[in-house]
Symmetry: C2
Subunit: 340 residues, 2 copies
Amino acid sequence: MASITEVAKLAGVSTATASRVVGEVNYPVSQQARERVLAAARELDYVPNALARGLLKSTVPIVGVIVHDITDPYFNEVVRGVEDAANATGYLVITCSSDRDAQRENSYARLLRSLRAAAVIFAGSGIVDGESNAELARHVTGIRANGSAVVHLSPHADGPPDVGVDNVAGIAAMVAALVELGHTRIAFFAGPASLFVARERLTGYRRGLGEAGIAVDERLVVDTAFNRTGGAAGVDELVARGVEFSAICCANDLLALGALQRLGELGRAVPGDVSVAGFDDISIAALTEPHLSTVHLPLREMGRRGFENAMRTLNGEDVAPQTLPTQVVMRDSTARRNGQ
Amino acid sequence: MASITEVAKLAGVSTATASRVVGEVNYPVSQQARERVLAAARELDYVPNALARGLLKSTVPIVGVIVHDITDPYFNEVVRGVEDAANATGYLVITCSSDRDAQRENSYARLLRSLRAAAVIFAGSGIVDGESNAELARHVTGIRANGSAVVHLSPHADGPPDVGVDNVAGIAAMVAALVELGHTRIAFFAGPASLFVARERLTGYRRGLGEAGIAVDERLVVDTAFNRTGGAAGVDELVARGVEFSAICCANDLLALGALQRLGELGRAVPGDVSVAGFDDISIAALTEPHLSTVHLPLREMGRRGFENAMRTLNGEDVAPQTLPTQVVMRDSTARRNGQ
DNA sequence: CTGAAAGCGCTTACAG
DNA sequence: CTGAAAGCGCTTACAG
């Protein structure tokens, strides 16, 4: 691989001049020198060494995105948003799947820090884990100390997201929609209590019921994993508890998908016997049978804005937190309560 | 951010000694010096600068994965496989969505090259585009010249994949399975002719029919995009052509999903009136209604092996191409031909 | 076991 | 408009 020294030598100029030409900086260089450098660069197939430049600038045009799982449609949609914005600026995107493991998240944060990535975006919720959070905080401090930006797209140990949605209001709106359909026995699949976002959504459930004047029956609240298996297990748990319910409000779509499947296996018609609602509106939500009623989150937009937020921070701007709108989307998995 | 110089100073040793301790190289350092360096590093929250190290080694522990679209379940599954293998070795993964645009692919290849990524994995099929392929070849040459590895997981301009599957045999096996069910009028949704992989799969279709002694009716072959929209459009095209068919074999699952949807809208029962088969076995294939019959590809394993292949190449080993097994999975979207 | 020094490939303040 | 030189933070061959 040719270096700028070789380009300069071939062009018969100093490396300073060569750098000024290929670096596309706004610095006066004679037309003749410019052309010779360009020709030499082309001839040698010169591609600048981003590591050398990065060492000098103490940062590289890379944004790290820490997600829970890149195969989760929620996260790859967000990542695509980040990438679209990043690509327009010549930035590369590193994706890190933490599997909601605080240690793995820390390990990725450290790696990104050692790389001097220009920005680190935490796409998923923070994990409730005092010890690990202390270490994570150290890394975040270190990243910022390097002049890099840190952006959160979901609630975390240190507070609300920089770019996010109102989870409480979003879930409450879905609960209200279910109440509107005549449901009063609404179960809630809460996701893991170890996630800040799950706690917020549970708060939304309580608020939604409260606003409808319905008392919370704790037997209707089920802690679950944040995936399809968790949704299926949630249905089993409800059945095992022998508690009556005509609707299930899920803290995310994956849970709803699992619930749909298990309910089908159990011969419970959706939405005939039970209404099922999701949250997030991942791309497959409109493809399930029945099509899933859910709350739409502007996932790709969150990714885009997360990146832009980081760029502005890097620019020294003072960036205000943004709350993006959500929208209840009633499709075919919810219906008026049976017998009403 | 503290540098090794500061760590050395605080520990009262030379940077050489400090480097030998924190770099975890196997070099004799006195127990006393070691402890002092470790203590200093901890105190300063020292995290080595990967850019400085990378400049010296002319490579960084990063693998770039160029995919067609990270939101496509095929690709994020492969990427997850790469990440799982990479993470075990302390490598980071950069994901690049080309949108099957040869220029965007080239631009990513160049960026990865400028970063001196240790390896570049092309997860998706090569794009048929003579001009762009020449530029891509230059980048691949440059990447290899830097001592980095290039791995293909799908057919491309320069030949077969380093780690992949036998697309021809895979599709032919599905065609055989459909023939076995009594189908003779089997349509084929081919994907874009601009993709090497789509061409292979079309060849598989022809071979499958040939082996069954069925002549190819070109009116049954429809070029499509490689997504759900393409599958829906394919159904419309078949209808417009007024050609008879009892089964549709799709070059990938996304096409099958689109076909399922459009067929449903048209009131054509699946599999009652028409059998539909996919290819890839992406994770949602088992969730559609009806559950999709398809050909299983070990996507995550392909990603893992792709990374391992790259590491071995970096190690100077001579790595032989690997063809991973595929398997026909008949679920509920295919059935015996109507009236048989 | 220890450390001084060179060098990886850039960019840029400085002097001309 | 041009270029010599310093320096970013590491690692390692070399001399002790």
